[in-house]
């Protein structure tokens, strides 16, 4: 039986969709069967980030209203044979087209066939949020190290606690700029985790590769060199119960010629 996890944040633009796409991909790479559900109805873009936007025929509203069968609407990602699927959002209607009960029903229908069902939540705490949370066993709250984002995350955690999900919410801190944290210009990881007082699932560094790979429709986890990709892979492993240390915030300084030479002498 699969586990359903909602990925939410309250604030927009903190990386919910990127996190959903990458976490889903990372789990699929670990040989887990994953279904991503895009609940940002009206403004879908999980399909674009995954590079599956040209393959949509039916969407979640079609399924909920009985115009299509669930298996007809699921899009298979061919890169991971039979491991990663997407249930896309509708674009021509609004968030009220879906009811929490309908989402719940769809998730229950998917549960026997998948290991993970990830629900990509829209920004805000209205109907779309309620829809996404209704289907979830657990929540992952995404926040960036900015006060506005942390405040909204706090609000969302409060709402999630009232919903009484099966498991307590967990936190991902996204878009950490190492140099700003080290200079004390950005809230640090401990401060945010302590403030929100929920379990930290992982951190993801700010990385330009995220944007370039999203533009190509390839989640950044597929790029082995990317620090952000590494962050998402670590998070996926922690979800699977492995113990993985947090990535270091220390910056690797680029060595100048002088340092290289002195180091060369030290070695002898």
């Amino acid at each position: 039986m699969g586990k359903s996890i909602v990925i939410t944040s309250g604030k927009g633009g903190v990386g919910k969709t990127t996190t959903s796409a990458n976490l889903g991909t990372a789990l699929a790479l670990m040989d887990k069967k994953v279904c991503l559900i895009d609940l940002d109805i009206g403004l879908r873009n999980l399909d674009v980030v995954l590079g599956l936007d040209n393959r949509i025929i039916y969407d979640i509203v079609d399924v909920a209203q009985g115009r299509a069968k669930l298996h007809q609407a699921l899009i298979k990602d061919k890169r991971f044979d039979d491991k990663l699927f997407l249930l896309p959002a509708a674009q021509n209607t609004d968030k009220s087209a879906l009811e929490p009960e309908e989402v719940k029903k769809i998730v229950e229908e998917l549960r026997p066939d998948f290991d993970y069902i990830l629900l990509d939540c829209p920004a805000g705490i209205e109907q779309g949020f309620m829809n996404a949370v209704a289907g979830a066993d657990q929540a992952i709250v995404v926040s960036t190290p900015e006060i506005s984002s942390v405040r909204d995350a706090d609000r969302v955690v409060g709402l999630l606690e009232q919903k009484d999900l099966k498991e307590a919410p967990m936190l991902i801190i996204n878009r950490i700029k190492k140099h700003m944290v080290n200079d004390g210009d950005m809230m640090d990881v401990d401060e945010i985790t302590r403030h929100l007082s929920i379990k930290l699932l992982g951190i993801v560094f700010d990385d330009e590769d995220v944007i370039s790979s999203s533009n190509k429709g390839e989640p950044v986890v597929l790029n082995e060199k990317s620090a952000a990709g590494q962050g998402y892979r670590n998070i996926a492993r922690r979800l699977e119960g492995e113990t993985v240390p947090l990535m270091s915030l220390k910056e690797q300084k680029k060595k100048g010629l002088f340092e290289k030479v002195t180091e060369w002498f030290k070695r002898k």
Partner: protein
């Protein structure tokens, strides 16, 4: 008339009609009518023009319907009126509400952004109020936990409530209808952790040892010397 359903008693401060709780209500109604009829005819006994009666029901609570019926009987006699209807018992719910109001509630919640926690009575708060969260008590607030949001005592109109504890990180303190916003200009004094409403109806701060003089009742409630 050994088993009479009602009896009339005279006191220094007025007349009292005692309704016997074991009697049938129809008997009570009938006897009350007879009694009032009798008194009304013989009103020379009363020196005042208007006579008030207390009604005592003992271990029995009149229902709204029964109260109405008794009031209706009195309405036939313009000279007589009911001062009040009193019982020796109260409803369990009312009793629970009274206890609730007089108790010090221990609470260790996390009150997050956008949440309001309202407590009937006093609260000993050991949790955290996040920025944007509101801790609200109808009585006093004793703060042991961390307050980064809004702390409100005496909500909505109890001027005698106090806030005791560290409010140096709070966004606002409120007592009854008064509000202080802490910002760069207004900062709470760490050495004065007691917030109260002073004689000028403004929020003021005191040292801990001054609280006993200000609200001795609090100490009586906690016990001790």
């Amino acid at each position: 008339m050994a088993n009479e359903a009602i009896s009339l008693k005279g006191h220094k401060d007025g007349y009292e009609i005692v309704l016997r709780s074991a009697a049938k209500f129809s008997d009570i109604e009938q006897e009350l009518k007879q009694l009032l009829d009798h008194l009304y005819k013989d009103n020379s006994k009363f020196d005042a023009d208007q006579v008030d009666f207390k009604i005592q029901t003992g271990n029995w609570l009149l229902s709204a319907d029964e109260k109405k019926k008794i009031e209706d009987i009195f309405a036939n006699y313009p000279l007589f009126s009911i001062h009040r209807i009193k019982a020796d018992v109260i409803l369990k719910d009312d009793a629970a509400a009274i206890i609730e109001k007089n108790m010090i509630h221990a609470n260790a919640d996390i009150i997050r952004n956008g949440q309001i926690k309202t407590i009937d009575g006093d609260v000993l708060f050991m949790g955290t109020v996040h920025e944007g969260g509101i801790l609200q008590a109808t009585g006093n607030v004793y703060l042991l936990g961390k307050a980064e949001g809004i702390v409100s005592a005496g909500f909505p109109d109890n001027n005698s409530a106090v806030i005791v504890g560290d409010v140096t990180h709070a966004q606002q303190v409120r007592i009854a209808d008064l509000v202080t916003i802490f910002d760069d200009e207004v900062q709470p004094d760490e050495s004065k952790p007691v917030v109260f409403v002073n004689d000028l109806h403004k929020l003021a701060y005191l040292r801990m040892d001054e609280l006993k003089k200000l609200r001795p009742k609090i100490y009586a409630k906690f016990g001790g010397f």
